[in-house]
């Protein structure tokens, strides 16, 4: 069974204080690892997809990296508007085919950036 564990559950930072969020995963075969941002009362907003170990992607103050067992979301010099819940999800490779590609999500990291 695919599993995704995110840590920490909650993180409070001062504006400008850089940090990293962790996503550990167990999957029989990884097709892709996704990061989403979710604001209160809204649906998840797509941030990144990573496909292979060693891959990195950046967007503004966010940088996502991937190894064979975990992914990190690095946030550099965060601002209060970066406050949100960050969700990690895996898309398994379906050896049996059939096209099923639903995501398995972690519980998320609730990030608060204080001014």
């Amino acid at each position: 069974e695919d599993q995704v564990t995110q840590s920490p559950e909650a993180l409070r930072l001062q504006e400008g204080e850089s940090s990293s969020l962790n996503c550990s995963y167990t999957v029989s075969g990884l097709r892709g690892l996704f990061w989403y941002r979710q604001d209160p009362g809204k649906g998840p907003e797509f941030l990144f997809t990573l496909y292979s170990a060693g891959e990195e992607k950046e967007k503004e103050r966010l940088k996502a990296t991937l190894t064979k067992k975990e992914s990190f979301l690095h946030i550099t010099a965060p601002k209060p508007e970066d406050s949100a819940t960050y969700l990690c999800a895996v898309q398994p490779f379906m050896y049996s085919g059939g096209g099923a590609d639903g995501l398995t999500f972690g519980k998320g990291t609730h990030l608060i950036i204080q001014p």
Partner: protein
């Protein structure tokens, strides 16, 4: 480009009543997903459609939940009869085509409260 539309945004019902949710995916997106997000958890896949055919409904509680996608566009998710544990946000997502390289875009969700 218009995003994924969902209605209603909020619904309160009593246990044993029935309820239906509607989703209109991004224009041209062939794949549609329904996820259930319980408070404090990540989204959990309920069902995946490719055009108007079901690809994966392995996690759908079929004794009370049903879903359809008519003409390969809009979709409806129904719960009958509802239980207290069905209280959650129901998220609809769509992607251009299932598989690697196609991100899933989420709607705002429908928050269901069962009393």
């Amino acid at each position: 480009e218009a995003g994924v539309a969902q209605s209603p945004r909020y619904k309160i019902i009593e246990k044993r009543q029935s309820v239906a949710f509607w989703c209109n995916p991004i224009s041209g997106h062939a794949t549609l997903y329904w996820y259930q997000q319980i408070l404090g958890q990540g989204p959990k896949l309920l069902i995946q459609f490719q055009n108007n055919g079901v690809v994966d409904d392995s996690q759908l509680p079929k004794d009370r939940f049903s879903a359809e996608r008519l003409k390969g566009v809009d979709s409806t998710l129904k719960i009958q009869p509802a239980k207290l544990e069905d209280s959650a946000v129901y998220l609809c997502a769509s992607s251009l085509v299932g598989g690697q390289g196609y991100e899933q875009y989420f709607g705002p969700g429908t928050r269901l409260t069962v009393t």
